[in-house]
Every structure is written in C-alpha cells, then in structure tokens.
Symmetry: C2
Subunit: 359 residues, 2 copies
C-alpha cells in the first residue's frame, strides 16, 4: 500500500507492506489524518521522544532506525476483521479510535510504532474493542479532529474550574484552540485568548473566546485587575492578608517554548492555577520562590482518557464543539513534506489534514 | 527595651524604643520566639525578600536600611492594651498570634517590619483581634511552635490526599517535620521521610513517620514499585495505557535548594503531586516535557490561613501533634548570633528558640 514513511528523519512517499489484522484487530482504510505538533518534533527528534517516554515510565516500543508511519489523528473506514473479532461495527462504517493498538508485543501507539502504521498510510490495523463509530453523519475531516480536541477536553477536566473562574489561554494553535473549545462547551467564561497570528486569533473568536488579544498590543495580564474579586478571610494566607486579593485564575499554557512558564509565574495573580499543555522539549528555568510567594500551582497534563476521547467525538458530532475553524486544508501524500515545513515555520496554518489515498 | 536588632546585615543586642500599643493593639511581653529559616535568609538578603514580595503582589512595608527586629514564631504574655480594645484576654495570659499586625499604615508582618518589632525583643505590640489564648496549660516553648507547625498544616491541607495516598517527605528540617506531624495527625500513612542528618531522621521517627531513610543509603523512590496499586482504565491517559501504573503519590519538597524539583520530576511516579514547601531562593531548572509525559503537578504553597493557625495551636495543646522533637534548645539574646551561624551551617539543630528576656 502507499504510505508517507519517516525514514532517517526524512518523509518518503513510498510503497510498504500491506498490514494484516491479527487477533481482535480490524483492517481499516484511512479517510483523513491530521498532522500533529509532535509529528513535527518526532521527524527530527524521535530519539529524544523515545528517551522521554522511557524516563517517564512508558515502554520503548519504536526503533527510530526503522520505518515509522506517523499519523494518530485519524478517521477511517472499516474494511475487514482479523480472527476473534465480534464484527459489531459493519464494514463501510466510519470510525475513530484512541491511537493505541494492542498486539502480541503489548500496547503500542499507532503512528509511533514500527508495527502499526499510522494514518499517513492508506490502511491501518486497529484494535476492534477501541473503535468508535462516527455518529450523526459527521464528516471524516471533522471526526479526525477528535484526537486533538480530546487533548483540550482532558486539560480542562484537570483544571480546578469554578463558576467564578477566569480562564486565560496562551497560544491559539491546535492545542490552545482545543482548550478554548472545551471551555466554551462547558459554558465557562470569561475566556481570554492570546496569539501573535491573526488567523489563529480569528479561529479563537470563532470558537467563542470572549476576549482575544494580540500580545504585542496588550498584555492579557493587564486584565486581571479589572476582573478582580474580593477575597475572603478564610482563603487567605498570612501574606495575602497584607493587601493582596485573589480570584480563581486558571491559565492554560499552550505554547511550549522555554521561558513561557516563568513568564506566567511572573505575571499570574496570586493563587492562580497554570495548566501546562504546550510541550516544551527543552530545559526551562523557573523561580520557585516567586511561585511559592504567590502560591501558584503548575499542573502538567498530557493525553486523555478513553472516556474523554469518546465524549469529545460526541460533542463534535452534536455541534457542542465546532472544529471547522481549526482546519486549514487537506493535502495528498505528496503534500505532506511541504505541510511539515510550513507548520514547523510557525505560519498561520492551524491543522493540516492528510488524505493518504490521494497521491 | 532590650532587643536583638538586624542592622546592616548584622545582629546587634541593643536597647530600642519601648513599643506603644495603638488603637486596637495589645502590648505583650515575649516569652519565647523561634528562629525561622527565612530569618537566616533575611539577615543577608532582606532586599531580595522585599523585591520578591513586591513582585508577588504584596506590599513593600519594610526598609532594609532601617533596624528590623526579627521573630515571627512567638509566644507572649499580655501586659496591657491600647485604646479601643475589648481587653477580653486578661493581662498575664499567654497568647500566640498570626504574625500580622495592623496599624495606621495598613497590615505588616511582625518580625519583618520597621514599625512592629518581632519576638527577638522583650516586648511587642500585636493586634488584639488576632490574639489566641494558649489553651490547656501548654508551655510557651511548645506554643511558640504553632507558627512553623501551621506551615505543615497548610501544606497538607493543599495536597490532594486520599485514603490510598503514599506521602513522601523530602527533608526533615522544621518544615518537613511540620508536614510529617500534620500528616500523622490526620491519620495518613504510609509516610516516608528522608534526611541526611541522623538527628533530623530521629525527630521524624518520633513524629510518627512510617519509613525514615538516609538518602545516601537508599533512595525513597525505590519504594514506589513496592507500593504500586493497579491502575483503572478510567483514570488513564493514552500513554498510561501502554504499560504504566499509577498510585496516589504525594511528595512534599521541604529542602528548597536548586535541583530538588527536577530530581522529583525525574524520580516521581506518573501522576504524582509534588507540594513545594521548601523555599528555593535561586533560579532553578526543570524539564517540562518530562513533567508533561508523567502528568505531574507542582503546587507551591506558603503560609497558612488564620483558621489553620488556630487549628494547629489546638492540635498541639491537645497532644494530637507533638512538637517536642523539633526543639533543639533555647538561647538568650547573646546566643542569637551563634544560633544563626549554626543553623545556616546546615547542622543537626532543628528549631532554636530565643528568650529575649535573657541576656
């Protein structure tokens, strides 16, 4: 079958072996698959990603010296089943799935595996038990956004939000937009969003952000004072008794470059919660004494649960979360290389989808 | 009156003006007052502490060029009242107080103020409304431990503890011991504690830590595997589906030197909560991508609420929290300078008290 393969830090449009569904596995035809920021990183730094997973207690399941077919944000159509399947979802049905597949070697991430090609290939094998039929006639492009939108679902679920929370989303790439969409689907507000790119700010507006700022023109942190809420004695520490006020500030860091966390430690109001969703791959410097003085919390979040993934699919299908503003276009296999370059360059494109059936 | 004064980064045993209680203020005679780690820092770096407070949104209330009398961990005896007081607590009664006093210029921290001398002086003025009578015949030495023990009370209240939590306390100085004591008063266990000092490890044992380790001999992190709890699907992110397990690990960082936070990011099990109580005054380096991969949270805590302070006093007075193992001895005014030196040297002394009535 045709696939765009990562081979020695290059993307190659080539022919690879047809995947064969094993016990409990379905064979599916990829309809469309998003390019993720981690794919951009993994193209050049797959070694680093593997080392990180290993240090975090995960399994080392991919050999970067061998071919890998990226793509974990997919919508596909069921073709056939391997042995031991129920076949409950009929062939021809559009499905999505948490990108985890289970084979004789254990679980692996589809799209970061030598055994399980991802969605930049014409066909994949997936675990039948994890397939979710796409409901409500939702088109494949929007269904493929389930995975990145589940990241926001999880981040928002992990945040200590209350009815009086003020949410600030730093960065309106796919991660930040996913967070904004999940916040607005829960009726949260005000949601303040910032990004340098006019296209991304426009997408944030379309997704319902209440205040959208260009950080070159206005710091979102200037807004805290205006949104101030009187403090209660019971929730105050000694230092806060001395002239400080608090409010339920929840800040989502969705940029992931060095310096962002310290900038938030510097600018956040006392007792703010900072949810770190953007993945900064380099070492970073923070000032713990300032974070202590302000009683900040940093919650580092990653991925989502299968339940959050399923809930996201249904929210998209039922119109509670609109994903159209994220979709910058769809390319065939020959367009993947350029799309990686453009997305790495920090341009205005948000989510580029790949249709691996198209040359 | 006699007081040990900070004057140009030196401690001077000298005569200062008698304090006069103003509107709503009580005049008290200091019985005993603890030396805090922040006093050691403030002796040389008061400028830095002031800048930090200001950056954190607090008020600039102390001029480091003028005299400051340290001491915010005190037990005192009521002598007299200024105008507008109720006088409900009779003269001669032993009291403690959150070290915050309110004057015409607003609130200030007793012990870090040019206007309100702290407990290294023979007498102080305190806000009547904040005085708490020492109950149950508790002696002044143990009552003076209310303030540092309230720090642990607050840290533990801020931690996401559950009945299946495993608590690890890194560092058994006054802060770590206060955390251990608060954990055991709540019936938490197992509590694992580590420190290089045999005296501090002994104090941790006396306060009820279940496992006490010398980190040179055994890493506390080796214990996580043994304390493993099977994970449930619902609480797992994608990456955790792939061979990881989780448990409710809550780690209290009570050392406060550079490198500690990253060491915990490196060693903590996935989804652990790290409560940062030790104050690292320098810039520190962390690896956000590893923290994200493990979904760690870092909660920076500071101080306590007036309610936590009052609860701590009663827990000590009723024997729910024993503080005797923390007390290394009491010095007079002439011993303060040497005590500062010894405590800064990282020796085995834990909490040294000052009786400012003694020469």
């Amino acid at each position: 079958m045709k696939a765009v393969v990562r081979r020695g830090a290059e993307l190659v449009d080539t022919e690879i072996a047809e995947p064969v569904p094993g016990e409990g596995q379905a064979l599916v035809s990829t309809l469309v698959c998003g390019i993720c920021g981690s794919d951009l990183h993994a193209l050049h730094y797959l070694d680093h990603m593997i080392a990180l997973t290993k240090r975090a207690g995960g399994m080392e399941t991919v050999d970067p010296a061998q071919d890998v077919v990226f793509g974990h944000e997919f919508c596909a159509e069921v073709l056939d089943y391997g042995p031991g399947c129920t076949g409950a979802i009929k062939p021809g049905t559009a499905v999505v799935s948490v990108p985890a597949a289970f084979g004789p070697q254990g679980g692996e991430l589809v799209g970061y595996s030598n055994r399980f090609p991802g969605g930049f290939a014409e066909r994949m094998v997936l675990t039948e038990a994890m397939l979710l039929p796409v409901p409500n006639g939702l088109d494949a492009e929007r269904a493929a956004l389930t995975e990145p939108m589940a990241v926001g679902e999880h981040a928002v679920a992990q945040a200590p939000l209350t009815p009086r929370s003020v949410a600030l989303v730093i960065g309106c790439g796919p991660v930040g937009l996913s967070v904004i969409s999940a916040l607005k689907a829960r009726g949260m507000g005000p949601v303040i969003a910032t990004d340098f790119s006019p296209e991304r700010r426009r997408a944030a507006e379309l997704l319902g952000a209440d205040v959208v700022l260009d950080p070159r023109e206005q710091s979102p942190h200037d807004r805290w004072e205006a949104l101030d809420v009187p403090a209660t004695m019971a929730s105050l520490s000694t230092s806060q008794l001395l002239g400080r006020s608090i409010r339920d500030a929840v800040i989502f860091e969705c940029v992931g470059v060095p310096g962002m966390i310290q900038q938030l430690i510097e600018k956040a109001p006392p007792t703010a919660s900072i949810i770190v969703v953007g993945v900064c791959m380099e070492s970073d410097s923070i000032e713990p004494s300032l974070a202590i003085n302000k009683q900040l919390s940093l919650k580092f979040v990653f991925g989502y649960s299968p339940e959050e993934f399923a809930a996201t699919l249904h929210e998209i299908a039922e119109g509670a979360r609109d994903v159209a503003p994220l979709i910058s276009g769809t390319v065939g296999r020959s367009g993947v290389k350029d799309a990686f370059k453009a997305l790495s360059g920090g341009g205005d494109r948000i989510k580029v989808l790949v249709d691996p059936r198209r040359p």
